[in-house]
Amino acid sequence: MIEQLAAAFSLFLTIENVSVVFIGVVVGTLIGAIPGMTTPMGVALALPFTFTMPPVTGILLLLGIYKGGLYGGSITAILIKTPGTPAASCTVLDGYPLTQKGQARKALDMALYASCFADFISNLSLILLAGLLASFALKFGPPEFFTLIVFSLTIIAGVSGDSLPRGIAAAALGLVFATIGLDMVYGTGRFIFDEWELMGGLNFIPVLIGLFALPEIFRYFAGGLDESIRAAAMRGGGATFAEFRRCFKSILRGSLIGVVLGSIPGIGGAPSAFLSYSEARRNSPRRDRFGKGELEGVAAAEAGNNGVAGATMIPLLALGVPGDVITAVILGAFMIHGLRPGPVMFEQNLTMIYALFIGIMLSSAYLFMVGKFSIRAISRIAEVPNRLLYPAVLVCCLFGAYAINNSAFDVLVMLLMGIVGYSMMVFGLPAPPFLIAFILGPLLEDNFRQSMILSEGGLGILFRTPICWIFWAMTLASIVFLVKSRRRRIPLAG
């Protein structure tokens, strides 16, 4: 063991490796922070550069971009309500209201601290618990997934504001939009109306930007062209240690949620962020302030989002199964170098795996440094007046939306979703439930229908294992809690 660790250190400790992790984190942070650019896009773009690098160097570059991208998405989410990644949309819920209150620096600081801590916990879990978590992940079939997503959806009640029916209606609209595309079982069209570009469904990013960024810009133009919010955004101080300590429980909980969900192939950062947020809200004495600019909400969302970073490598390294698009690209990088992740790799290339672990741990430290610097640099962007910033953001969004599929259709989707989002804003329908349902909806429906195929239509399969029972019990407890707390506030009112 000690010999292998020593060999791993000597394999890792080269200038190329140490600097490539740093470059990866910087590039990832930048990509995550550009509206419309996605982390998978960044990792895929960097893949060709790794062909000529040694395996450890190449894979560390991709991992650096991945980790930087997860954090970078939160920057624009907090400052201009434009999440760079689907997972960062959860950070918007409290991050942007904090910016409106002039506490953007505090929100950015807390997002960074939570991200780095969760990333560290996730890396530690990857190193120490890979085998255990991989075997747990294998226990998840469609019914277990379905019950997990049902439980995650209970957060909708928490982000519905004062009106539960409006929140549920917004979520139902999100579910309807999520059904657009080809039917998973029969391959027939749903709401396609002979538009072949709708066959693949609506892409996350144009919907995300359309729903959050555009309504805010429309509101600016339909309003009094108010510049005071942005001008005051960075005036407040940064997050203090006392605030970090107050949020620590939520950060730790979010990190663990991220680790568990990240180790299950196919879940990803967004459900983890929303679940972490939901749990933080449920357990916080300041739950009434969630959604209105609560620092703990930012911490929980970012911890859940970044907690998956190391854990998604668990099914890849331990089982050879990529859990999402990014790890699929990383699997490609392994294979290009003649390596096949899985149990055999732990026997034949243990030194290399340890070297990767060292690099991954270093990336957490780099993330902190890059994040701290980027907050300072970005504070200058916040000083740009809205009349110049919003047009620039809009054009970035338009280019980004086009670049996802090289399709002008995605630009149209983004603009139409902007009108939908603005209409929802005018009629008091909250956007977060729409987005949560839009992200979780396909997972919910697909796993439900897969369960029905497995059981030939029998609903009993949804209660087949203790994992299902645990999630049903948690869902029930959550609903009872929500009903009780709402009754105390507003009886039945819409």
């Binding site: 773009l45 819920l93 942007y96 209201p97 504001g161 004062d162 009106s163 409006r166 549920i168 209606a169 139902a172 609209l173 309807v176 039917d183 079982v185 029969y186 027939t188 069209g189 749903r190 709401f191 396609i192 429309f218 509101r219 600016y220 133009f221 339909a222 309003g223 009094g224 919010i229 302030r289 959604g291 209105k292 600019g293 809205n386 009349r387 919003y390 809009l394 970035c396 338009l398 280019f399 086009y402 670049a403 002008a408 603009l415 902007g418 929802m424 804003m425 005018v426 009629f427 008091g428 329908l429 956007a431 429906e445 439900f448 229908r449 030939e456 239509g457 507003i490 009112a493 819409g494």
Partner: protein, 170 residues
């Protein structure tokens, strides 16, 4: 009143989905193994939820609010304009102009590409927002689309359309 109106709208969307859009927009195969597997099973449930929520708002409207969208009572500055009963003509016209510019941009992509309309869009929006100084109007409008073009085409390898200026592609 506004909550009831919203309720009527939501219920109408739910019922339109159930009775019109789902039958028209979802192709259901002749033979379905089980009702829960039918392509329209899920959308029908969701449309009923929408209609039910609309009904809830009609029956129990609660006090009229001015839009939720995360705008809290301790954040009055942002509880501004759009959800107010009416917005002035000038503001409506400005919003209409922004929408016209954006959809004009989309329609111009095939013909003029994304770079030149991007330049016009930035300058026009900044002008609409009240910027009158020539340098802040022109500089970002010229530089940002060019930078985005250079990044996407030469670094990311994304073929950003140039429309009739396609001959300029290096």
């Amino acid at each position: 009143m506004k909550a009831r109106l919203t309720g009527v709208g939501i219920a109408a969307i739910g019922l339109t989905l159930f009775f019109l859009l789902i039958p028209l927009g979802i192709d259901t195969p002749g033979r379905v193994d089980h009702i829960t597997l039918a392509p329209d099973f899920w959308p029908r449930i969701v449309s009923l939820i929408l209609a039910a929520m609309g009904l809830w708002l009609i029956l129990f409207p609660g006090p009229d609010d001015r839009g939720t969208d995360n705008r809290g009572p301790d954040n009055p500055k942002t509880n501004d304009p759009v959800s107010a009963p009416s917005i002035g003509f000038e503001r409506r016209a400005r919003l209409a102009a922004v929408l016209a510019l954006l959809f004009g941009y989309y329609l111009a992509i095939d013909w003029l590409g994304m770079v030149l309309p991007g330049t016009i869009l930035i300058a026009s929006l900044s002008f609409l927002a009240g910027e009158r100084r020539p340098l802040p109007l022109i500089l970002p409008a010229l530089c940002l689309p060019a930078l985005l073009y250079a990044f996407f085409v030469h670094i990311a390898g994304v073929p950003i359309p140039l429309g009739i200026f396609e001959f300029l592609r290096g």
